[in-house]
């Protein structure tokens, strides 16, 4: 059993990943963001570098709401990774 989520990257994260969006498949029916991050770091060297690098934390959202490692995800969810915001 598995499920698929849509991943979006923004700003310097998008540049480091050389990708603005992709789909990722995870085992089971649900998972936490920390599981997704672990899977992505294992599968993709660029993501591992993004995680390790940078003076600022990597932020994550699920369905357009800020999330944490504990946030649950399931089929069809929209996940995004981005640096701290610099609006205004």
């Amino acid at each position: 059993m598995s499920f698929v989520v849509d991943i979006f990257y923004f700003a310097s994260v998008r540049e480091a990943m050389d990708c603005d969006k992709e789909k990722i498949e995870l085992p089971g029916a649900t998972a936490r963001i920390s599981d997704l991050v672990g899977l992505m770091a294992a599968q993709n060297k660029k993501f591992l570098e993004v995680q390790k690098a940078g003076v600022a934390p990597l932020l994550v959202s699920v369905n357009q709401e800020l999330a944490t490692g504990e946030t649950a995800i399931s089929e069809g969810d929209e996940v995004a990774f981005f640096p701290p915001m610099t609006g205004g």
């Binding site: 923004f10 700003a11 981005f82 701290p84 609006g87 205004g88």
Partner: protein, 154 residues
């Protein structure tokens, strides 16, 4: 009212729109944020920027601005609120953001405009990239902007 858009705004037009909607307002405060040519004027080696790219997260950015407006309305009795934030490629002296608030009295109009800008700086998904003649550089979020949120006891 919140809007994320590419095209420029006219402060006079927005002010008059607020004035029409606000009814019995005693005070209207407007703020505009502009693109500066030099972000770090004390560093001599800093080149002037040629363009500023404003990136955003369509959908989430609008929701974040709506929440900022809604939070401001919960704190104060606001007769009208207008937030416009531009995205895309801008250049020095271009207008980036407009905030307008209308209230019965001036203290509230000023305070609510500051509140909205403080949250807009750190809590709305926008990212800025400065470009001079060489490679572009993403602007880092500043401690002072994050600390500014503390004064609102959040």
């Amino acid at each position: 009212m919140i809007e994320v858009r590419k095209h420029d705004f006219d402060v006079g037009f927005e002010y008059e729109s607020i004035r029409k909607i606000a009814g019995d307002a005693g005070a209207i405060v407007t703020f505009s944020g502009l693109v500066r040519e030099f972000y770090y004027p004390r560093i001599e080696s800093m080149k002037s920027i040629k363009t500023l790219l404003l990136e955003h997260y369509p959908g989430m950015t609008e929701k974040a601005l709506e929440k900022i407006e809604s939070d401001a309305r919960k704190r104060w009795d606001l007769l009208d609120v207008r937030i416009i934030h531009r995205v895309g490629l801008l250049k020095p002296q271009d207008q980036i953001v407009f905030v307008g608030t209308a209230t019965a009295h001036r203290a509230t109009a000023f305070e609510s405009a500051v509140f909205i800008m403080d949250f807009l700086k750190s809590n709305a998904p926008f990212w800025k990239k400065e470009n001079d003649d060489g490679e572009g550089k993403w602007v880092q979020s500043r401690d002072r902007d994050i600390k500014a949120l503390r004064r609102w006891s959040v």
